[in-house]
Point group: C2
Chain length 298, copies 2
């Protein structure tokens, strides 16, 4: 006997028109009195704003270790040849390396670090697995940014994450100034899901890793959201981290300064929210972008 | 009898290699005890940093007047058809209108305003004329920025300004946030002239109004300057103004926010520094970009 489990699509997207759906899920899934590295006040702020900045998640010595490992990876010809490496169109330099926690034991250890995975477990109220990990290098002298998007929109449409029970952490390995194309978030935008207009092309992921296309909000929607929520630019020293909810509307500008911007980016998903089939795409994305191995981080 | 005046080229540029020349001219030309709208302390700061921010150069009511006039100009089909209008490649919207003090009586009055021309006279220590004026509109949703450059490098090479006795003012007509591609300056960079490598193509100005090419500093030079001077991003409400020396190394990133950035930009040159023949270009640029009418603003 075959059992088919139907999963309701709580967040319709990529249809004929842009559709606004109020968030159907909590932001903080853990009960407020569960002990953990995040304070009750910070959990409240995360619930309200959709993000949480941590001044020094890792110390300067650790930053050096991860930077060295990043440098090693982006200069390794074998890594460059790997499909998990994304190359900047203009400069032909490596911009991202995906699934970095499987490629590098150094980054695997970072994922397992209680300061990292402990926060994710506390926020998501369960065991968690890595839906995606990567290192990002945003070189200076004109490297382009990323246009506005909600990660969940993509992860729901193309990877099949059913609920908003997913949190990202971006750990800075270089200083984020107010000038070098840092992360911008619309605070509070995570409480509303913007279903985007337009069907997903079959190999959308290849293009969208370099620049946004399908899943892009309209000018009208962005204008409305920016006027309602404002836009916050994140700055911080190497070692600082930004935790942000999967449904935050966010983006980044280009970087004409000589200061490169490097970070490690880890997406934790609740094991109770494991990926099903894509909700709005003809095929799944590759596993190095949207994991299908739901083994909890221990 | 014909007299030929030879003008020494104090600032060689556009040759075979990048050449660094220490500034040969004062920054503040007026004597410190000449009364005027700029305080002695502010003149000192301008000399040191190369810029001077004025919180509210014009009031909110005036901002509205100039904004309305800007809107009128950029939506006027006759203005769009005028060669003095520069159109954004991506959006096909008007990005700048040059010689705006000749096109519009409203902006002509602003140029003559003592708060504006009075400061320029005081800083340059003489009567002044308008070398260039324009309104700039940097729409949101991905409008591109301007790469690093010194204005004087161009004005010397292509317009024939002999000395650094020229000051610009950018008056904001919309708010400059830390997110919408505002002006970035390397403080102190005005004390050193970076002569750029590479010959000037004949119609360079047409291309360079949309994006920089000839006159572009090398990555190495920018890295050195940024590490020596740092980079300051200018933010401020509508009505605020930034005065900056002609030789400041400056640029701006792109603007993915929905917030457009509009300003009036006026370049005052000393009547004692009138343009001669270009120092490093085969022909003069058009007069709407580099004036040949040296009549003092009265």
């Amino acid at each position: 006997m075959t059992t088919t489990t139907r999963v309701t699509d709580l967040y319709p997207t990529r249809g004929a028109t842009e559709v606004v759906t109020p968030r159907q899920d909590p932001v903080v899934w853990g009960s407020p009195d569960t002990p953990g590295p995040v304070s009750a006040g910070d959990l409240q702020a995360l619930d309200r704003d959709g993000f949480l900045a941590v001044d020094q998640l890792i110390g300067p010595d650790e930053v050096e270790v991860y930077k060295r490992e990043l440098d090693r990876l982006v200069t390794d010809p074998a890594i460059r040849a790997d499909e998990r490496s994304i190359v900047e169109p203009k400069s032909q330099e490596i911009r991202s390396v995906f699934e970095v926690h499987k490629i590098s034991e150094v980054f695997a250890k970072l994922v397992r670090d209680e300061r990292v995975v402990g926060r994710a477990r506390q926020i998501l109220g369960s065991d968690v697995y890595v839906h995606q990990s990567r290192i990002n290098v945003k070189p200076g002298f004109g490297a382009s940014g990323f246009y506005w998007h909600s990660d969940f929109e993509t992860w729901h449409a193309e990877d099949g994450l059913p609920n908003m029970r997913t949190i990202s952490v971006s750990i800075a390995l270089t200083e984020n100034y107010d000038t070098n194309g840092g992360l911008m978030i619309m605070p509070g935008s995570h409480k509303t899901f913007l279903g985007c207009a337009g069907e997903t092309p079959k190999d959308n992921y290849k293009k969208s890793l370099q620049m946004q296309d399908a899943g892009t909000p309209s000018d009208e929607a962005l204008t409305k959201m920016a006027s309602e929520y404002g836009i916050k630019l994140f700055t911080g020293k190497a070692g600082s981290a930004t935790w942000f909810d999967c449904n935050c509307m966010h983006g980044s500008g280009d970087n004409i300064t000589p200061y490169p911007r490097s970070n490690v980016f880890i997406v934790f998903n609740s094991v109770e929210n494991a990926a099903v089939e894509p909700f709005a795409a003809p095929i799944r994305r590759p596993e190095f972008i949207g994991a299908r191995d739901f083994t909890p981080v221990k």
